[in-house]
Subunit: 152 residues, 2 copies
């Protein structure tokens, strides 16, 4: 399928639903990546903060939530911890296990990122009128709400 034509000046061809969705997904990811970069974070580190906003998962939980191997999660948390964003807490119920939680600094950054990402994505859909935005919200919700979870 066609790539997002970042270097072309006229992007007014009619797109099929696949190209439109793929280009939209790249536009959203680019937006999120830029916001994260503004806080000197990778998108993955930002996603980590998002996961930890409402949870205190074990390393294994975290790996599953981010679809990473457990060894990748170890490195991710090592780097986040080194930057003072998260900390490992010994589990009281399983001596092998850690619970990962945000530090105060991590919570501060998480709040900033949430606000900025919301603003940036809102700006992305600003070309639509309010009914269009509501329709997009509804359709996107329906697509992600019907995801087969059983497949990994």
């Amino acid at each position: 399928m066609a790539q997002p034509a970042a270097d072309e000046d006229e992007g007014h061809d009619a797109l099929g639903v696949v190209d439109a969705l793929v280009q939209l997904s790249f536009a959203v990811q680019t937006t999120l990546t830029e916001v994260a970069a503004g806080a000197d974070l990778s998108l993955l580190q930002a996603r980590l903060l998002g996961v930890l906003r409402d949870r205190t998962p074990t390393m294994a939980d975290l790996a599953e939530a981010l679809r990473l191997d457990k060894s990748s999660a170890t490195g991710l948390i090592d780097r986040a911890q080194r930057r003072g964003l998260v900390q490992r807490m010994k589990s009281t119920t399983d001596a092998r296990s850690f619970l990962v939680e945000l530090t105060a600094e991590g919570r501060r950054l998480t709040a900033i990122l949430e606000e900025e990402m919301t603003g940036a994505v809102d700006a992305l859909v600003a070309p639509l009128d309010p009914p269009g935005i509501e329709m997009l919200r509804l359709l996107a919700s329906r697509v992600v709400g019907c995801q087969p979870r059983s497949a990994r």
Copy 2:
């Protein structure tokens, strides 16, 4: 904003437009990544093939199209070339410059990926009825700026 709840079992909460769009973008990216992985390629390598499908850019053009630093493009093309997917052609107009093009094997893989990615994204929107899909196509096109003027 909330993370795609990969580890939760029911995704039927009402989502705001930002969360819905972010989750949709991750769903699309995950789908594309899985298709690419099925051909033993990263998503970036697959994007590279997509760019080269209709173009024969210089290294600098390529870096711009993929929004990479020129040094990153060097490594990307080195790896793709090592796998026999692309080749560097000396420019006839600028002795400093190369044109990057697909090999026969690269074209073969590109065609397969295009077909599989289209099928996978189509499957993603299958929960919607045909008017919903058309509406999603229209809204996404408008957001990414590729809507024909007549429909604006």
